[in-house]
């Protein structure tokens, strides 16, 4: 039992970010191993934290031994221990796969890339672990600023896409900060647990309502919830492949975590559900996100851009689970944070590997890909089945809970939306699979071309992370019952 494990999760990548800079000046090749070591130890610490939370319950860590309402406190309960393990594992997998594609795409910027990469992970982990509203803002900005920088070093359109993201991200963060300010003015506290004690007496106050509105808009901007998603497709399309693989699974999910935290911990569930009808609005926005993302994805020719619109749609699933505001719905939402992280990780790693080998990602150009890269494409198909929601994969189970939640809330429109989006996803992915797997008839008959296509599978350092992510999709599908019974059922507020 290491009592420092919650803080170690954040501090190790933070310190190693500066070590990479220091050692990078001396030897460029040292950056990659330092990143791997720091993220592995951070992952071990987060696993240790998760284990401690499961066995002993919520952990409180007082930074510098300052007592909670005055000092900053890290609070780890079932919900954030779970998200913490996801974030640290996904970032470790992305770091392993980064070596070759960073060497190819950003040969001169390796040192700075790993430094900012680790700062990005630090920010994401910090958002999840902290129990203090203002500290969360600081980590949010660390993660966002690192994100702007990482996206801006991408291909041609990246700086402009990153600038747009910066404008929207700054508005989101400023709204969050204003929300913190309003809560501080009325309650005199910044500690989440303290706030949830003080606020119920003040729920009729307009200041609290305004603070809540600022939080919801700010966090929706950060998690790219329709119609505030406009920055996301451009930013994640033009970013370097490693960066897309890191940000797409994590940034939006961490935003969703903050939303759950604010709605159900800082404010009591009955405020968010009964006093103001925010969950109804949220569900309708989420339904819009699910359909809009899927329809827009249909219109895309660029595979990576198509995935970014699918991501918009997946964010909608999580928001819908939160908006349904019952036990099954929220279970589905929290389970979907895990499942979608792994699905997006696998899909974006596959796109990164295809980009690395062929430099192409437009869907009609993917011909013969199943022969050139058989394992990578197999991983793509499994991830696609999971996004569609076919039973043994994990995507099925979170969708199942979301549909159960929609039925329990008697919201038949949302049941229909969930089923329609599954059908749209079938069309979406079949379009890709058709081009990658099925061959034109006449060329097949001539037989001459078959020899010409040699297997050029992605390098092992990219293939193994992709296969780990795919294995995760299958394993979490099989184990989803166990995950719910040991972790998620304690993460859902007891009043549900």
């Amino acid at each position: 039992m290491v009592p420092q494990s919650p803080v170690l999760v954040v501090v190790i990548p933070l310190i190693c970010a500066f070590l990479t800079l220091l050692f990078g000046w001396w030897r460029k090749g040292l950056c990659y191993p330092i990143t791997l070591v720091s993220l592995s130890s951070s992952f071990l610490a987060s696993l240790h934290t998760l284990h401690a939370v499961i066995t002993t319950g919520t952990i409180h860590y007082h930074l510098g031994n300052w007592e909670p309402p005055w000092g900053i406190e890290y609070v780890v309960d079932h919900l954030n221990a779970f998200v913490l393990a996801i974030v640290s594992f996904v970032s470790l997998v992305v770091a392993i796969s980064s070596k070759r594609s960073v060497e190819q795409e950003l040969p001169e910027k390796i040192v700075y890339f790993y430094c900012v990469f680790l700062l990005q992970v630090t920010g994401l982990l910090g958002i999840v672990v902290t129990g203090d509203m203002f500290n969360l803002y600081v980590f949010l900005e660390i993660a966002s600023l690192a994100g702007y920088a990482l996206i801006a070093i991408g291909e041609d359109g990246a700086p402009f896409a990153s600038f747009n993201y910066l404008i929207f991200g700054t508005i989101g963060a400023c709204f969050y900060l204003l929300g913190v300010g309003y809560l501080y003015v009325i309650s005199g506290s910044l500690n989440m647990a303290d706030l949830s004690q003080i606020l119920p007496g003040l729920y009729q106050s307009k200041v609290v309502l305004v603070a809540f509105a600022f939080f919801m808009v700010g966090v929706s901007l950060k998690m790219a919830l329709f119609p505030l998603h406009v920055w996301l497709p451009d930013a994640y399309t033009y970013a370097p492949s490693t960066v897309s693989a890191l940000l797409a699974p994590l940034m939006t999910k961490v935003g969703a975590y903050v939303m759950i935290r604010v709605m159900f911990t800082v404010f009591k569930p009955y405020f968010s559900i009964e006093l103001i009808p925010v969950t109804a609005v949220l569900s309708w926005m989420a339904a819009g996100a699910i359909l809009f993302g899927a329809v827009m994805a249909l219109a895309q020719i660029d595979l990576k851009r198509m995935l970014t619109y699918i991501l918009v749609s997946e964010v909608g699933y999580i928001a819908l689970g939160v908006g349904l505001a019952n036990r099954q719905g929220l279970t589905g939402a929290i389970l979907h944070i895990l499942n979608d992280s792994f699905m997006m990780l696998a899909l974006f790693l596959v796109v990164g590997a295809v980009m690395y080998r062929s430099g192409e990602r437009e869907i009609p150009q993917l011909r013969y890909l199943h022969r050139r890269m058989p394992f990578t494409m197999a991983a793509f198909v499994i991830a696609a089945l999971s996004v569609i929601g076919i039973p043994p994969t994990c995507g099925f189970f979170s969708k199942w809970y979301l549909i159960l939640g929609a039925i329990a809330a008697s919201q038949w429109v949302f049941v229909a939306v969930l089923l329609i989006s599954s059908l749209l996803n079938v069309i979406l992915f079949f379009r890709v699979i058709e081009h990658a797997y099925l061959e034109p008839h006449e060329e097949h008959a001539s037989g001459g071309l078959e020899l010409a296509i040699a297997t050029e599978e992605a390098p092992l350092s990219m293939l193994i992370p992709t296969l780990i992510a795919t294995a995760g999709i299958m394993v979490f599908g099989v184990l989803s019952g166990k995950i719910i019974s040991t972790i998620i059922q304690f993460a859902v507020p007891t009043s549900f």
């Binding site: 900005e141 359109g157 700086p159 402009f160 600038f163 508005i171 400023c174 900060l177 300010g181 437009e362």
Partner: protein
């Protein structure tokens, strides 16, 4: 009505400043003007935080000889609240880093497109895209 505005003039100024910044971020076409908008927006938030801490007739929150010099009766109402100031020090650091990142990105954009006008950049991007779009 006039009294209502006058008695809370600091908050009105914060809201007006924030809206000016917000308009510049969304409405202006020039990227540097957008960055200036970000700064006005963030400065307005600093004004909001600082003015919540201020008190008429309040003094610095420093208690002299607080330890071991008899019992002091500390009237919290006569001291201004130091916490929002401290929060804003951190927010200023965040502001400066945002400004730095934004300016670096704008330099990269200028090198690529030779302009900082959003519509001209979009025009150039439209031509550089493949006909499939």
């Amino acid at each position: 009505m006039f009294d209502f505005i006058l008695s809370k003039y600091n908050y009105w100024i914060y809201i007006i400043l924030m809206m000016i910044g917000f308009y510049a971020m969304i409405g202006k076409k020039n990227l540097v003007k957008k960055i200036i908008g970000i700064n006005i927006f963030q400065t307005a938030i600093i004004l909001f935080f600082i003015s919540t801490a201020a008190k008429r007739g309040g003094t610095l929150p420093i208690v002299e000889h607080a330890h071991g010099h008899g019992i002091h009766h500390i009237h919290a109402a006569s001291y201004i609240n130091p916490l929002p100031h401290v929060l804003m020090l951190t927010a200023i650091v965040v502001m400066v880093s945002t400004l730095g990142v934004a300016l670096a990105i704008v330099i990269a954009i200028y090198r690529r497109y030779n302009t900082l006008e959003e519509d001209e950049i979009l025009e150039q991007r439209k031509w550089s895209r493949s006909p499939l779009f």
